[in-house]
Symmetry: C2
Subunit: 275 residues, 2 copies
């Protein structure tokens, strides 16, 4: 049975996250996996399981989520994006489809992922959150210094124990992860973006990193504090978890053959609560 890999984009605002949720005795919650499985079922005319690379939380967006399913179908792969997207609500789109190896595992084969966290902050013309970006940015009522934030961000690059940046209920055996790149850059006078990529992330890790960097940006921490915060291995040492709307999954990368998304010492693929 052929296996298909999809690249997806979605506006997460009106979804209860990626993962299908069917509380007993209640109508199922609106999730990306839920609406996608319904659309794919309609295209291939059979029930399917669609597995996503990243279980994004409620309100988190994606421009490059990856998902896979197996199905017998007469629909050629090049028609798949249009066929599925035309059956999806307007806040999810299939951008690409490809045929992959029968055993392709979007979670287990993942080599790295990239996330972006977008922040607007205050200045003379912006005492209030931007009306038309409030669904896709976090707004800080404090002026932020992107250069200081970038200096701090770089100290997170490399292999570290990120226990300080994991929600207590992370459910992982190890909190060691490798961040390939962590950078902050100004994108306008009162706008900045955090771009972070790595082999795997703990639950809420990017949002806690963003919250800690905002503390640096407003001057409540200095960049050098990052080293101390990592060493503490204590969630209370880091800054707050920023809200989901600023976060977007930008891409998921795969190599040749299986390569674990979590570090080799980490939990097996499929362990919940990886964002």
């Amino acid at each position: 049975m052929p296996r298909f890999r999809l690249t997806l984009a979605y506006d997460g605002t009106e979804f209860h996250g990626w993962q299908r949720q069917e509380p007993p005795g209640l109508p199922p919650l609106r999730t990306v996996q839920g609406v996608l499985e319904a659309a794919v079922r309609d295209v291939v005319r059979a029930p399917v399981l669609v597995v996503g690379a990243s279980r994004t939380d409620a309100g988190v967006h994606a421009l490059g989520q990856v998902a896979a399913f197996s199905a017998e179908t007469s629909v050629p792969v090049e028609r798949m994006p249009l066929a599925i997207t035309s059956r999806l609500p307007e806040d999810v789109q299939v951008r690409e489809a490809a045929i992959v190896a029968d055993d392709f595992d979007p979670i287990g084969d993942c080599r790295s992922k990239g996330y972006r966290y977008r922040v607007l902050h205050t200045g003379p013309p912006a005492h209030w959150p931007d009306l038309f970006q409030r669904r896709t940015t976090y707004f800080s009522y404090h002026a932020l210094d992107p250069d200081r934030m970038d200096e701090a961000a770089r100290l997170l690059e490399g292999e570290h124990d990120f226990a300080s940046f994991a929600q207590a209920s992370h459910g992982r055996e190890t909190t060691v992860r490798t961040i390939h790149s962590c950078r902050v850059r100004a994108t306008g006078p009162y706008a900045l973006e955090l771009d972070v990529s790595g082999s795997g992330f703990l639950y809420n890790m990017v949002r806690i990193v963003a919250g800690t960097l905002v503390e640096v940006g407003r001057g409540r921490l200095v960049p050098e504090d990052m080293t101390r915060i990592i060493a503490a291995q204590d969630r209370r040492a880091a800054g707050p978890t920023l809200p989901p709307e600023g976060l977007c999954l930008m891409w998921v990368r795969y190599g040749e053959g299986p390569s674990a998304c979590a570090p080799t010492s980490g939990a097996p693929p499929g362990t919940p609560a990886e964002e």
Copy 2:
């Protein structure tokens, strides 16, 4: 009793337009005027009538709507934007407040208004509406030529009978209006903006102008057709009414003393259905 003029911005997506609507026996609809009057009442501690310059339709946005109310209050005018906005839902903001003459009439004293209509169109990277701009742009599945659209737009400038660009139920005695400026410019490879300003607009006029210019942009009309369409004085001669989400009220301008928003030959201020 002092009179206050407010400059407002709102994301119109989740409003049933500007104008208060209280259908008998039903809960009131969510309107900008409705939420604003509730917030102002809470600030000045008395019932107030807030009059807006433009009765924007459901889904239409504003960056520079003007509204006015009269009230006795101890709140200084410079505190008014913060005081009101902090009591408003996150999709409406008071950007400025000023004390004006007791007889200031946001509709009757209006000298000109500016609207923007934003369009995204298709190209190799954009077979689908932009996920994060779908609430504030119209998406055309046809490639558009902004230069041809601009050429056509300029033919609308000046005083004309715009009967062809008015919804049949416009309810106005005259359909003669003056357009000060009507221009289209590309804002990106597959993005364009129509900016139109004038002394007054008929119901749905900007959306019909935009729909007619899109017909030019995709090659179904030539710019010179605009002259014929104006002369027809028939709604059927013009293009379709584009949806509200692309439209934004950018500014409302006032002169010294009262000056009619509609042309002197037009309907009296207060006639409904001016957009």
